[in-house]
């Protein structure tokens, strides 16, 4: 027992425990989110959703995952084999790494780095690379379309996203996520930064390729976009990454605007998860309510509306901070 504590106490031990914890969290979270999405969608659409497997279909996703694992992994002819096989892994790894710095509660954080925000945003940018790899290697015009759109979209929306989160950072004066939460002791930043919150949610929806900004995989236009040619668990990894990405952007929203783990009575991590899933519910709500925007409208929206607004918000914040 003493040995175990000593091992866990070392840096390496912490990393190992963290990794196992993260992988478990990612899997359980994806299983839960897919079920949640199906239930949210169903109830918005006047139907009950999955009901057969488990309580209200609670373990339906596990059945689906098992089916997916049993599927044949098809590699179409004339794909760029190495890139094609690498893409699902590349899309998944940065997602895992982002969990390193997310503080689930005051103490529950794997590595409390002073560049936390930058690390997450840098890794989030890697997702684009994976999508580009997948689309390009698939040797399919629809897949290429999907990945080209994805790159343009992510580049366009990363800029307002970064500028938007700069405003709270300016108020705190630290990139460390725990500091940002600590600074929200008196009030949540959503009160002082309502515009930034709206901008952030908009950009985050686009960043995670969710409807109404789900153009890289716009079903009615591009069949399945960049993952058209992927089957079985390879497709499953893209799916898993998408839902985990959703968790990460929602976690960032919680940390920046909703006071992170802060809340009465319940332990910190419960509050944190509650807020995260509330944000995810909001994003799901968008998906099942809005039609899809057109590609040029999407890009125009980012460059002509979101970026100027984000800059204006940043300047205003800077001015107010200076005067105070």
């Amino acid at each position: 027992m003493d040995n175990l504590v000593r091992i866990l106490g070392t840096d390496l031990g912490r990393m190992l425990a963290g990794l196992i914890g993260v992988i478990a969290l990612v899997s359980v979270n994806a299983l839960f989110l897919i079920w949640m999405e199906r239930k949210v969608a169903a109830h918005m659409q006047l139907r009950p959703g999955p009901m057969e497997v488990g309580w209200h279909g609670a373990i339906q996703t596990i059945a689906d995952a098992l089916k997916l694992m049993g599927k044949e992994l098809i590699t179409p002819a004339e794909v760029d084999r190495s890139v094609y096989l690498l893409a699902p892994i590349v899309v998944f790894l940065p997602v895992l790494l982002s969990f390193l710095v997310i503080p689930f509660s005051q103490t529950l954080v794997i590595r409390d780095m002073n560049v936390g925000v930058l690390l997450i945003l840098a890794f989030a940018a890697l997702t684009v690379l994976a999508i580009l790899m997948a689309g390009w290697a698939s040797n399919n015009k629809y897949a290429v379309f999907g990945s080209i759109r994805s790159v343009a979209q992510n580049v366009a929306y990363e800029i307002p996203l970064l500028i938007t989160v700069m405003s709270p950072i300016l108020m705190v004066g630290s990139y460390r996520l725990t500091d940002i939460v600590a600074a929200q002791e008196k009030f949540w930043f959503i009160v002082s930064q309502p515009l930034a919150f709206i901008l952030y949610i908009t950009c985050a929806t686009a960043e995670t390729n969710r409807a109404p900004f789900d153009l890289p995989e716009a079903e009615s236009e591009l069949v399945a976009g960049f993952h058209t040619e992927y089957s079985g668990m390879r497709f499953g990894l893209f799916f898993l990454a998408e839902y985990t990405n959703m968790f990460i952007v929602a976690a960032l929203a919680t940390i920046f605007f909703l006071g992170g783990w802060r809340g009465p009575v319940l332990p910190g991590w419960v509050w944190f998860l509650l807020k995260v899933y509330a944000i995810i519910f909001l994003i799901m709500w968008f998906r099942w309510t809005f039609p899809r925007v057109r590609f040029d409208q999407l890009i125009t929206f980012a460059w002509k509306i979101l970026i100027p607004l984000a800059f204006a918000n940043l300047l205003l914040t800077a001015l107010v901070m200076k005067l105070m």
Binding site: S220, W288, P291
Partner: protein
């Protein structure tokens, strides 16, 4: 095409026949430059079943079930068109009550078709939820029609000289309940869809068709009415008992996708009006003409009968040589004419617009292929 040494700037994108937005086995060959379309050529015929040829090899009654399968979404209009053509040819008089029942059921079917269109069209635009709302409403119609016709999709209900089964009080009560229900739902559709900013951005001034183009391509149905021409067979060449009802022909102003959407929504409201009046005025009497011959054997001659389906003008042209089989039946289908304008209006649009335009044409591919 491109010559050696010249850089290739365009490429071909096969849109279909296996694609979520072609609503059946339609293939559009797209010449693309980036995401812009420089040329669109529809390729039809994947679902050809030879209905017209079948007609030449069976007698008049045996061809009747085929009519539910040409346009499976507005099958009763096809039933009506074919039955009326044969009745014209043989001089059969249809009792008044049967005509009223035909109008009620055909209009219900029209609403079902439009509801499906609204749902499927918004699905094309990426909104999933309205689809299920529309299907929820449509389910009511299917239940009602199931009661009298015995089937839910490929109806074969009308007979030469009338209808085989009378409608009962329960059906009429169901109809009235449905009218009240759908009228209440229009406001929901308006709030959720018509006023949605993304929807407006996707449909306003996209796929504009001018009046001149409408005439040149022989468009019919909501396509032509969306462009501001009030052409509806029910008014312009009245048939059945339609002249006895008070209803309007909704038309659009700009001829864009939005107008075609609004025309269809308003048409549903007008169909409700027709059904309501028909239920009120429904006369008593027989539902089948007396002395309908067992073997339909019309004298030699030819006849054309047009009816308004949910997609436009369906015309049934029969040539008889005095045999128990028709010599030739030509089906004039609205979707064929309506699709023919696609190459002209799809040029210089984005793929996303092509999906929106193709959806707004409301093609039923088996109808085109026949």
């Amino acid at each position: 095409m491109h010559e050696p040494g010249q850089e290739e700037k365009t490429y071909v994108l096969n849109f279909g026949p296996q694609h979520p937005s072609t609503h059946g086995v339609l293939r559009v060959e797209l010449q693309m430059e980036g995401e812009f379309i420089t040329k669109a050529a529809p390729d039809i015929g994947y679902g050809h079943r030879g209905h017209e040829h079948m007609a030449e090899n069976r007698n008049y009654q045996q061809f009747l079930p085929n009519m539910g399968r040409v346009d499976y979404l507005h099958a009763l209009a096809y039933n009506q068109g074919y039955c009326m053509a044969v009745e014209k040819l043989t001089g059969l008089e249809v009792p008044e009550r049967a005509e009223f029942i035909r109008v009620i059921t055909a209009e219900l079917n029209r609403i079902a078709s439009h509801l499906l269109w609204v749902g499927a069209y918004l699905l094309d635009l990426g909104a999933f939820t309205p689809f299920l709302y529309c299907f929820d409403d449509r389910e009511n119609i299917l239940d009602l029609l199931d009661r009298v016709t015995g089937s839910r999709l490929t109806y074969c209900y009308y007979r030469f000289g009338g209808v085989p089964k009378d409608i009962d009080d329960e059906f009429m009560a169901g109809c009235r309940a449905f009218i009240t229900r759908l009228r209440g739902r229009f406001k929901d559709y308006d709030d959720l869809v018509t006023k949605n900013i993304i929807f407006i951005k996707r449909t306003r001034d996209i796929g504009v068709i001018s009046k001149e183009q409408c005439v040149r391509y022989g468009l019919t149905g909501p396509m032509v009415r969306g462009s501001g021409i009030p052409y509806d067979i029910r008014k312009s060449e009245p048939y059945s008992v339609y002249p006895r009802f008070d209803f309007e022909i909704p038309i659009g102003e700009r001829g864009d996708i939005m107008d075609r959407y609004l025309v269809r929504i308003r048409e549903m409201a007008q169909s409700l009006r027709i059904i309501e009046q028909a239920l009120d005025k429904l006369p008593d009497g027989p539902i089948m003409a007396e002395k309908v011959p067992k073997r339909i054997k019309p004298a030699a001659g030819e006849v054309y009968q047009a009816v308004e389906t949910a997609r436009g003008e369906f015309g049934c042209y029969i040539v008889s040589e005095g045999d128990i089989k028709p010599y030739r039946i030509k089906l004039r289908v609205p979707s064929f004419g309506n699709l023919s304008i696609l190459p002209e209006i799809a040029v210089d649009t984005l793929v996303a617009d092509l999906v929106a335009i193709l959806g707004s044409i409301d093609v039923v591919v088996p109808e085109i292929d026949r």
